[in-house]
């Protein structure tokens, strides 16, 4: 893991085509610009985690059909 310090407007280059710019630092919040090829997946970590968690919650349990039949009974 590389750990380094950057100031506002300074950049980090990852490989040849991914550029990260520190746009603004305000208290405990940092605004970051990311320039990357369109095929590179860039996600907020928590969004990625949410999708992963939802997939795991969606894997059907043995009670899934019982629950559904109860809900759909009119």
């Amino acid at each position: 893991m590389l750990i380094l310090a950057r100031k506002t407007d300074e950049k980090i280059l990852i490989g040849e085509d991914i550029k990260i710019t520190i746009i603004e630092i305000h208290g405990d919040q940092v605004k970051i610009g990311i320039e990357a090829p369109k095929n590179v997946k860039v996600f907020r970590q928590e969004v990625f985690n949410a999708i992963q968690k939802e997939n795991q919650a969606a894997a059907a349990g043995t009670e899934t059909l019982d629950t559904l039949s109860r809900l759909l009974k009119r």
Partner: protein, 148 residues
């Protein structure tokens, strides 16, 4: 081919209903092949892992439950499953049925994109904040019935 399913024993699924997810689903990266077949509850469909009998998901056509659903996915990512035109694409959303009786929801933020021509599939993560992982299906259907 014969598929061992979680809920219906062994059933025969036509090859054109077998999909391959080269990268797997997020959190289930090791499972690449699934069979799609009708569930007991229309319009829900089962997506059953071929490799693991115990792993199955319910999925739904998101456009059936959400009129204004739309998704914008980068062409180069779509090209990774061989999609050339929008007509190649079939979209499904994974459904969650909470065991605690909470609302049945569809994950509209992480839809599955299927190339109808080669049946390759990928899970996409949408950055559009309108779509969440927990879209209430029954509430949406009730609203639709009220309008019709």
């Amino acid at each position: 081919m014969d598929v061992r399913t979680k809920t219906k024993g062994i059933i025969n699924v036509n090859d054109d209903h077998i999909i391959t997810i080269p990268d797997g689903l997020f959190g289930f990266e090791n499972f690449k092949k699934y069979a799609l077949f009708d569930s007991e509850y229309e319009p829900l469909t089962w997506m059953q892992s071929i490799d693991e009998q115990d792993l199955a998901f319910l999925v739904i056509d998101p456009f059936l439950i959400c009129d204004d659903y739309e998704l914008d996915i980068d062409d180069s990512r779509l090209a990774s499953i061989g999609v050339k035109t929008p007509a190649d694409v079939y979209v499904i959303a994974i459904v969650t049925v909470p065991s605690d009786g909470g609302p049945v929801t569809a994950n509209l933020q992480g839809p599955l994109i299927i190339n109808k021509k080669n049946r390759k599939c990928m899970q996409s993560i949408l950055s559009d904040s309108r779509w969440t992982t927990k879209y209430d299906i029954l509430a949406a259907l009730a609203k639709r019935e009220a309008i019709c």
